[in-house]
């Protein structure tokens, strides 16, 4: 019987990083979870000697992973229970798992080998040697097992949706681009802001209330090409989770939901190449060991050649336009020992767009992230991460007297230290602290193309720092009752340097009413906010396959998207809280009934939710948001409410899978000021811009042999609210339309069907596939927007028009390969 490895740290740098940064940050290990399928319907294997059993104590399970020929399989992954305990086999095939005593579902995976599934009853230190058979499974298929098949019933958190890359790759695509954000819009409670857009709303929340994390770093832009293409390269993604109900205490800073996107590590054992060729862009990724078993690399890039397509258009405006985007990812992972691993990643994206000679934009996104993950002792797992982000956007007006470029830039620094502690199999404790600093550059405008008429100007932007300390416990009281509770305390400070305008008491907040001005030095705390954010959810299992879950959480948001549009634009402003812009606060309540049927082949759920929001940012009519050094004069704050229900039925097993989801939502806003200029719709409740009461999605996936599949999506949604013309009048010869109260009417409903066929193993010597998708199969002209214009130059009364981006079925053909 082989000896057992010690779990103490061996690398001094690891120790230095963790210990030297006491009081800083460690983060949770990956939240991905394993699926329990039929594969785990095997008897338990006893590990250890029952004479040594001490319930709840940490033990070590070790062993060697070999192939059928006895050769060790370096880099094979062994994971137990939701990746809470995992390791990679070293060059000798050796692995070590440190875990509390208990029952575990364990999966062993490696490219080119069939997966091995085991159930272990671990009672003390022990050895489990594993033999893997050669097979044709791919790394992608690992991700399909990233959630427990019974998690629908057994997971404490309601309102948690997970999909994995393999699942979304099977869905029909728009222009051949696999898009996790569009895929999430098929889940209950998640809705799209508009045709083709990757922006989404969760349970009546706003776009900016979704925290999107790439590993541990918030992203301020998640799309290319005005939102039509996701900014995430599918080849670097591991998995992602959307928390829309109860959000764990370690997450904060947004009021509605958290989308955690995890990238994967490069392979530690051998080099590989994969990519895809699509109609407007192609991608490539390379990965492999720099030091086998120790250091791995994953590098990926994607670039568009949309210009080639644009320049072939018949419309001169289109053929004279340019659109290009690219993104790149570089990830390095180094294993200091079996107990510690460091990851450094760099992500960059760039967009450049010009519409004829009328306007253009350009934006860049850079994120650098460093993580150090370790097992501090046999029960604790700390993670330290430090990241820096940069987002800049430029709006270009290329012509005329005022040809100019307007640039906004946000720089931010995030540090977290998170500790997972599992004293027994009944508790999973998480605690940590985090800090985020926002340091935007001044908004700048400058003349271009020889237009010297534009005054070069700068408008300073506010700095802010957000700190949080949190703790939580996932407490399994009994087999049938568990409670997850957490508490987060957040503190925010608006920092100088800044000039604060004070407005005359009792007067509207207008530039003309500035009564005093105060200048604050750099670093000075100008205004601070703080508050507790309790998070609690509970699960009561009625039987083995049904449960009831309830949750409540409060979330605070100190940064706001200043965008007076229904869909995000690349040039939207991000504004931190200040004296006039208090934090958004949301209280989220939900209750749900969860039922799995037919041995977990089917999962169903019915949830009700209610969301109460304070300090929502709204806009005065015709608000001027750019280059405004008293932006507060254009903003209003109000309160909001959203309520509704979700139904979800999903088939998980078999060749025919898919789901049906239906969501009913009402989301409303009330802005009630002291007078008409500080109120909207006279202070009455009105439908928010993204209020779509009914949303229905149907997803069907049929798998074939040889990695082939057929997928079908049908989606229906109520039309968005509309501010419509009710009448018209003439001033000085010009017809002036009279618009209704804000969002008083409704756009036409939305309906779309997509389909795709995947043909695998096109060429025998490589792992590849061809995906043929048809987006909008029936060619329905759904309304992207409804607006008014005069039907002809000599016709004065504006008429309503529906603008459809897609008036036809849009096919796309993508070839994916992997060597």
């Amino acid at each position: 019987m082989p000896g057992l490895k010690s779990s103490t740290w061996k690398h001094p740098l690891t120790l230095l990083m963790i210990m030297g940064l006491t009081g800083l940050f460690l983060s949770a290990p990956t939240t991905a979870q394993q699926k329990v399928g039929d594969e785990w319907n095997v008897p338990y294997t006893m590990v250890g000697d029952s004479a040594d059993l001490v319930e709840g104590s940490m033990v070590t399970v070790t062993g060697t992973i070999r192939g059928e020929n006895g050769a060790p399989i370096s880099g094979a992954t062994i994971s137990a229970e939701s990746f809470k305990h995992f390791d990679h086999a070293d060059a000798d095939g050796r692995y070590i798992l440190n875990m509390p005593t208990g029952r575990y579902r364990v999966a062993v995976r490696h490219l080119g080998y069939k997966h091995v599934y085991m159930r272990l009853r671990v009672i003390s230190n022990g050895v489990v040697d594993i033999t893997m058979e050669e097979g044709v499974t791919s790394l992608d298929e690992v991700t399909i097992l990233s959630r427990a098949i019974d998690s629908n019933v057994k997971e404490s958190l309601p309102g948690l949706n997970t999909l994995n890359v393999q699942e979304i790759k099977m869905l029909p695509t728009m222009m051949g681009e696999v898009d996790i954000l569009k895929s999430l819009q098929l889940m209950p409670g998640v809705s799209s802001v508009g045709e083709g857009s990757s922006a989404f709303n969760v349970r009546g929340g706003r776009m900016d209330q979704n925290l999107v994390l790439l590993n541990n770093t918030p992203l301020f832009s998640t799309t290319h090409a005005l939102g039509f293409v996701s900014a995430f390269n599918q080849d670097v993604l591991e998995d992602f989770s959307l928390y829309k109900g109860n959000v764990p205490a370690e997450y904060g800073g947004r009021a509605s939901s958290v989308l955690q996107i995890n990238t994967r590590r490069g392979a530690f054992d051998k080099w590989s190449l994969q990519g895809g060729i699509g109609p407007i862009s192609s991608r490539i990724a390379v990965e492999g060991p720099i030091v086998p078993g120790k250091t791995s690399l994953l590098a990926a890039g994607r670039g568009s050649y949309a210009n080639w397509v644009l320049h072939k258009a018949n419309d001169p405006d289109v053929s004279n336009s340019d659109l290009s985007f690219y993104d790149g990812y570089l990830g390095l992972s180094h294993r200091f020992s079996t107990n510690s691993i460091a990851d450094v990643s760099f992500y960059a994206s760039h967009d450049d767009f010009r519409f004829s000679d009328q306007f253009g934009y350009r934006y860049n996104n850079y994120v650098v992230d460093a993580r150090l993950q370790a097992l501090a002792d046999r029960k604790a797992s700390p993670v330290f991460s430090l990241s820096y982000g940069h987002f800049s956007s430029t709006l270009i007006d290329p012509n005329g007297l005022d040809a100019s470029e307007l640039t906004n830039t946000m720089n931010y620094l995030v540090a977290t230290e998170n500790l997972n502690y599992e004293p027994s199999d009944k508790h999973a404790i998480v605690a940590g602290i985090s800090g985020t600093g926002y340091f935007p550059q001044a908004e700048r405008i400058r003349g271009i193309n020889g237009a010297t008429n534009v005054s070069q100007r700068e408008v300073p932007k506010n700095n802010g720092i957000e700190l949080a300390i949190y703790a939580g416990d996932d407490f399994k009281v009994t087999e049938n009752f568990s409670v997850s509770f957490g508490l987060r305390y957040s503190y925010y400070a608006h920092l100088g340097p800044d000039t604060v305008f004070h407005y005359a008491d009792g007067s509207p907040r207008l530039p003309n009413n500035i009564a005093d001005t105060t200048y604050h030095d750099g670093g000075e705390v100008i205004q601070s906010f703080n508050g507790l954010e309790p998070r609690i959810s509970a699960r009561v299992s009625l039987t083995q396959n049904q449960s009831i879950k309830v949750s409540y959480n409060r979330m605070r948001q100190y940064i706001h998207l200043i965008s007076n549009t229904t869909a995000p634009t690349p040039v939207d402003l991000w504004q931190v809280s200040n004296s006039y812009l208090p934090p958004q606060v949301a209280d989220n309540y939900s209750i749900g009934y969860f039922l799995n049927l037919n041995n977990n082949a089917w999962e169903t759920s019915a949830e009700l939710f209610y969301k109460k929001m304070q300090n929502l940012v709204e806009y005065k009519d015709f608000a001027q948001l750019f280059l405004n050094n008293h932006l507060e004069t254009e903003l209003l704050t109000g309160r909001g409410r959203a309520y509704g229900g979700e139904l979800y039925i999903r088939r998980l097993k078999g060749r025919l899978t898919g789901w049906i989801s239906y969501t009913y939502t009402q989301t409303q806003v009330q802005v009630q000021g002291s007078d008409e200029t500080t109120s909207i719709n006279s202070g009455a409740w009105y439908a928010s811009n993204y209020n779509k009461p009914h949303t229905f999605n149907f997803v069907l996936e049929r798998k074939f042999k040889n990695n082939g599949s057929f997928s079908l999506i049908a989606t229906y949604a109520s039309g968005r609210p509309l501010t419509a013309i009710e009448s018209s009048y003439i001033v000085n010869g010009t017809v002036i339309p009279v618009y209704s109260a804000r969002n008083a009417y409704k756009m036409p409903d939305y309906f779309r069907v997509d389909a795709s066929i995947t043909v695998g193993n096109v060429f025998r010597k490589i792992e590849d596939s061809i995906v043929f998708s048809i987006y909008n199969l029936f060619g329905r002209e759904n309304a992207y927007s409804v607006f008014y214009q005069r039907p002809a130059p000599n016709y004065f009364i504006p008429k309503p028009y529906k603008l459809a981006i897609l008036g036809t079925a849009l096919p796309s053909l993508t070839y994916n390969f992997k060597f």
Partner: protein, 358 residues
């Protein structure tokens, strides 16, 4: 193969449009929106100008969605010069109901004005004060004829000749004259058909006076640029049609306006130029500066504008291309004539009033 051809067709014809988001070159379809009735709201608009015949106030009531306001007659309209305390009465035009003019009054730059109106059975209305800027600056108008594509009401596209009107302008250094707006008016002669008459009577010619390209809102904001000189700024575009058969006068008015008036027109321009894209400013009710009783909704704007004008005349011989339209010249073999040739007063905005300068 047919599938492949169709695929390539879609790639060429649809994909570029989709990439550019249709919002910029997309597929438009008229739709119906069921609108609540909002007729009967008072609309008051107008201006006081330093040019005597340009001071006017219009009073009306909104109609339903598809119609312009009804004129309101018998209103008592007075412009108040707050600087001097003078009250200037306006009288309803005999030929245009709901339009009120003073008797030979020219406003004074630098003076503050507002308008007061009494409407029968509705009550009194008053505009906010607007100060007339000091000077309108200098203006020189010019024009070009060009052929460009034109889409008519039925969506038919064709190449048509157009008149493009430009201005060269200079903003005065005087304080308070930071904002400019341009309007273009036209007056053209319309002679009806002179049918053979045993008495030798010649039917009188009409003059049609109207605004050119009224939905184009051309503004200048002197606070945002460093120069006070403007070269060849496009202020109006007009199709060349039968109205150019006879003498045609184009008058360009350059108005120095207040910041409040500039804001109103800037917002009106935003409302008039919606494209349906994500860059559109969300529409909203345009707030004017006229108020009624209590919280009564009132639409419209009354402004005090310092104006300068420049005028040029065009004749058929000036056109660089033949004018292929039906004229009103009598011919014995001709059996039908357009309505305008039979009765020139049937043309909208026509009258027998000939301006002195025409």
């Amino acid at each position: 193969m047919r599938i492949l051809q169709r695929y390539l067709h879609v790639i060429k014809c649809q994909l570029p449009r989709i990439i550019l988001f249709g919002a910029l070159s997309g597929c438009l379809t008229p739709i119906d929106v069921n609108i609540d009735n909002t007729s009967g709201i008072v609309v008051i608009s107008g201006q006081v100008s330093n040019i005597a015949d340009q001071t006017e106030v219009q009073v009306g009531l909104t109609a339903d969605t598809d119609r312009l306001p009804f004129p309101v007659s018998e209103a008592a309209v007075n412009i108040i010069d707050e600087t001097t305390g003078e009250s200037i009465a306006l009288f309803e035009s005999s030929s245009a109901p709901g339009i009120y003019h003073p008797t030979n009054y020219a406003g004074v730059p630098g003076h503050a004005y507002h308008v007061e109106i009494e409407l029968p059975q509705r009550g009194s209305y008053r505009s906010e004060t607007d100060v007339m800027p000091d000077a309108p600056g200098t203006i020189q108008a010019g024009y070009e004829f060009k052929v460009q594509s034109y889409t008519d009401f039925d969506g038919v596209v064709s190449d048509q000749p157009f008149l493009f009107v430009y201005v060269d302008a200079e903003l005065p250094e005087a304080s308070g004259s930071q904002y400019l707006k341009w309007n273009v008016d036209e007056v053209f002669l319309l002679s009806p058909t002179d049918f053979p008459d045993p008495f030798g009577n010649v039917p009188p010619s009409c003059l049609v006076a109207q605004r050119v390209d009224p939905q184009r809102v051309t503004l200048y904001d002197g606070t945002k640029v460093t120069t006070r000189k403007i070269d060849k700024l496009l202020v109006a575009v007009r199709i060349v049609d039968w109205t150019f058969l006879e003498k045609h006068a184009i008058t360009v008015y350059q108005s120095a306006i207040s910041a409040r008036t500039h804001t109103y027109w800037h917002q009106a321009d935003l409302l008039s130029n919606q494209t349906g894209s994500i860059f559109d400013t969300p529409p909203a009710e345009l707030k004017g500066n006229v108020h009624g009783n209590g919280n009564e909704r009132v639409f419209g704007l009354f402004s005090a504008n310092a104006q300068a004008l420049n005028r040029f005349f065009l004749y058929r011989s000036d056109l660089p291309f033949p004018l292929l339209v039906t004229d009103c010249v009598y011919a014995a073999e001709r059996s039908s004539y357009p309505d305008r040739c039979l009765d020139c007063t049937s043309v909208r905005n026509s009258s027998y009033n000939r301006p002195d300068w025409f």
